[in-house]
C-alpha cells in the first residue's frame, strides 16, 4: 500500500515537474522575443 | 484548337492501363515477382525449422500469412519507387485522369502480384507441409487469400505512396503497415485455420475482413489526392 502511494506520488511529481519545466521554457522564450523586438526597434 | 482530340478513356479503362503497364514491365524483368516468391518460401522454411515437427493447423496458417505479408511488403515498397525513379508519377498526375485512378491502378497491380505469389506458393506448401486439404478446398482458400490480400494491398498502396517520399523509405513501410493490418491478419489466420480444420464459426471473422476491406479502400481513396499532390 505504501509503495503504491509513493509510486503514485512519484508519477504525479514527474508530470507536474515537467509542466514546471515547460513553463520556465515559455517564460524564457517570451523574454528572448521581448529582447529581440527591442533590438529591432532600436535598429530602425 | 481541337487538334486531334480523341475520346478520353473511362475511369476503369484508365485503371486497367496502369495495371497493364505495371504488369508488362514486371513481365520483362520479373525481378519483383521472383524476390517476393523466394522471400515467402524462405520465410516458410524458416518457420518450419522454428517449430520442430509438424506444425499444428493454426500455426501453419499463421506462418503462411506472415510469410505472405512479408513478401507483400517487398512488392509494395517497389510499387511507388518505380513511379518516382524518372518522375513517372508526375506523368500520371498530369494525365487527364482522376487521382484516384492512380490509387486504384496501383492497388490492383499490387493485389495482383501478391495474389499470384500466394497462388504459386500454395501447392508447394501443400507438398512441403503434407496438407492435402489445400487441394480439396481450392476456392475457399483462394477466396480468403483475395480478401486478406485486398486489405494488405489497399492500406499498403497508400502507405507506400507516403513512405517513398521519406528518408527511410523501405524501413518505414512495415513499421506503419504491420500494426494497421493486425486485425486482418488475425481474421485471415482464423479463417484459413478453419478451412484446414473446421471448428467453431468464422462468420464474424469474414464480416470483420469485409468491413475492413470496405473502410480501407474508401478512406485511402478519399485521402490519396493529399498524398500525391504537392
Amino acid at each position: 500500500m505504501q509503495t503504491l502511494m509513493i509510486a503514485y506520488a512519484v508519477v504525479w511529481a514527474i508530470i507536474f515537474g515537467y509542466l514546471v519545466v515547460q513553463y520556465m521554457r515559455i517564460s524564457r522564450l517570451e523574454n528572448e522575443i521581448e529582447n529581440l523586438k527591442k533590438a529591432i526597434e532600436r535598429k530602425s | 484548337m481541337e487538334v486531334g482530340k480523341g475520346k478520353r478513356a473511362g475511369f476503369l479503362r484508365q485503371v486497367f492501363y496502369i495495371v497493364a503497364k505495371d504488369f508488362r514491365a514486371e513481365l520483362r524483368t520479373k525481378e519483383l515477382f521472383n524476390s517476393m516468391f523466394l522471400f515467402a518460401m524462405l520465410a516458410l522454411v524458416i518457420f518450419n525449422f522454428s517449430f520442430a515437427g509438424k506444425m499444428p493447423v493454426r500455426v501453419l496458417s499463421g506462418a503462411m500469412w506472415v510469410s505472405f505479408l512479408f513478401a507483400s511488403v517487398l512488392g509494395l515498397n517497389r510499387s511507388f519507387v518505380k513511379e518516382h525513379e524518372k518522375g513517372c508519377i508526375e506523368g500520371l498526375l498530369i494525365a487527364p485522369c482522376e487521382r484516384s485512378v492512380i490509387y486504384f491502378g496501383k492497388f490492383l497491380g499490387n493485389l495482383l502480384f501478391i495474389f499470384l505469389v500466394e497462388l504459386i506458393a500454395l501447392p508447394l506448401i501443400s507438398i512441403f507441409f503434407s496438407r492435402s486439404e489445400i487441394f480439396s478446398k481450392p476456392f475457399e482458400l483462394a477466396g480468403i487469400l483475395v480478401l486478406g490480400s485486398f486489405a494488405i494491398s489497399a492500406i499498403g498502396t497508400i502507405l507506400s505512396a507516403i513512405t517513398v517520399n521519406t528518408r527511410t523509405r523501405e524501413l518505414l513501410l512495415p513499421i506503419l503497415l504491420f500494426p494497421l493490418i493486425l486485425p486482418v491478419l488475425i481474421a485471415s489466420v482464423e479463417v484459413t485455420a478453419y478451412i484446414f480444420q473446421p471448428k467453431g464459426s468464422i462468420i464474424q471473422w469474414l464480416r470483420l475482413i469485409g468491413i475492413y476491406d470496405i473502410i480501407f479502400i474508401i478512406v485511402p481513396y478519399l485521402l490519396f489526392d493529399y498524398v500525391v499532390e504537392e
Binding site: - | M1, V3, E90, I94, A95, P96, C97, E229, E230
Partner: protein, 240 residues
C-alpha cells in the same frame, strides 16, 4: 481576347519558404514565352503549378477564363509538359511508353500516331528497345514525343536544352519550329539567353518568386536583354 493562360496573383510557399510571391502573367494564343531567371527563382514551381502538379497556396490559374480546380481534369488534356525528369518507364520500350500515355490521354489511332512521332524524333529504329538503354539525348527526344503525343495546344518546357548534345539540340530546334504554328502556345524556361531569345516571341524574367521583367521580343534587342538579365541576377543574388 481571353488569354489562354492567366496566372493571377499566384503564391506558393513550402513551409516557411515562399517559392512564388504573387505572380501575374497573361499568355495569349500563339505566344512563345521564355522565362529566364536564376536558380531558385521559382521557374519550375510556376510551370508545375500551371500543369496542375502543384496546388497553389493563394491565387488562381485560369485556362481560357476557366479556373483550374479539382474538376478540371479535361484541362490537363490541353497541356504537354517537358520537365527535368523524362517521365518514362525504364523497363518499358519506347513504343510501350508512348502507347501507355496515348491510352491515358485517349489519343485516336494511337499506334499510327506513335509511329509518326517516333519517325519525327528519329527514334523509329529503336522503338522496341527498353528505355533503360537510351542515351541522354535519345531520352530527351522521346520525352518530347511523349509531351506532344496528344497534340496539346499548350506546351510547357522546363529547361529542355539542359544536358543535350549538339544533334539532340538540332532536333529539338527543328521540332519547336515545326510546332510553332501560331495556334500553339509555349512557355519555356531557360538560362541559355541565345537559345531562349531565338524561339521567343515574349521574354520574361522571374526573380525570387516575382516577375520583374516582361516584354515582347520586338521591343528589345539581345544585348539589351542580356544586360537586363544580368542586372537582375547580380542585384539581388545573395553575396557569398
Amino acid at each position: 481576347m481571353t488569354p489562354v493562360i492567366e496566372v493571377d496573383r499566384l503564391e506558393k510557399s513550402f513551409g516557411h519558404k515562399k517559392a512564388l510571391r504573387g505572380v501575374n502573367l497573361k499568355v495569349f494564343e500563339g505566344e512563345f514565352i521564355v522565362l529566364f531567371g536564376p536558380n531558385g527563382a521559382g521557374k519550375t514551381t510556376l510551370l508545375k503549378s500551371i500543369s496542375t502538379l502543384i496546388r497553389p497556396t493563394r491565387g488562381r490559374i485560369l485556362f481560357k477564363g476557366k479556373e483550374i480546380d479539382d474538376g478540371s481534369i479535361s484541362l490537363r488534356e490541353t497541356i504537354g509538359l517537358v520537365s527535368h525528369n523524362t517521365l518514362l518507364y525504364e523497363d518499358l520500350t519506347a513504343f510501350e511508353n508512348l502507347l501507355f500515355y496515348a491510352r491515358m490521354y485517349g489519343v485516336p489511332n494511337p499506334k499510327q500516331k506513335i509511329e509518326e512521332l517516333l519517325h519525327m524524333v528519329g527514334l523509329y529504329h529503336r522503338k522496341d528497345d527498353v528505355v533503360r538503354t537510351f542515351s541522354r539525348g535519345m531520352l530527351q527526344r522521346l520525352t518530347i514525343a511523349r509531351a506532344i503525343l496528344h497534340d496539346p495546344p499548350v506546351l510547357l518546357l522546363d529547361e529542355p536544352y539542359t544536358g543535350l548534345d549538339v544533334q539532340a539540340m538540332k532536333i529539338l530546334d527543328d521540332l519547336l519550329y515545326n510546332l510553332k504554328d501560331g495556334l500553339r502556345t509555349f512557355i519555356m524556361t531557360s538560362h541559355d539567353i541565345q537559345k531562349g531569345f531565338e524561339h521567343a516571341t515574349r521574354l520574361a524574367i522571374l526573380h525570387s518568386g516575382e516577375i520583374v521583367f516582361d516584354k515582347k521580343k520586338e521591343e528589345i534587342s539581345v544585348l539589351e536583354f542580356e544586360e537586363e538579365f544580368w542586372k537582375w541576377v547580380k542585384e539581388k543574388e545573395p553575396v557569398f
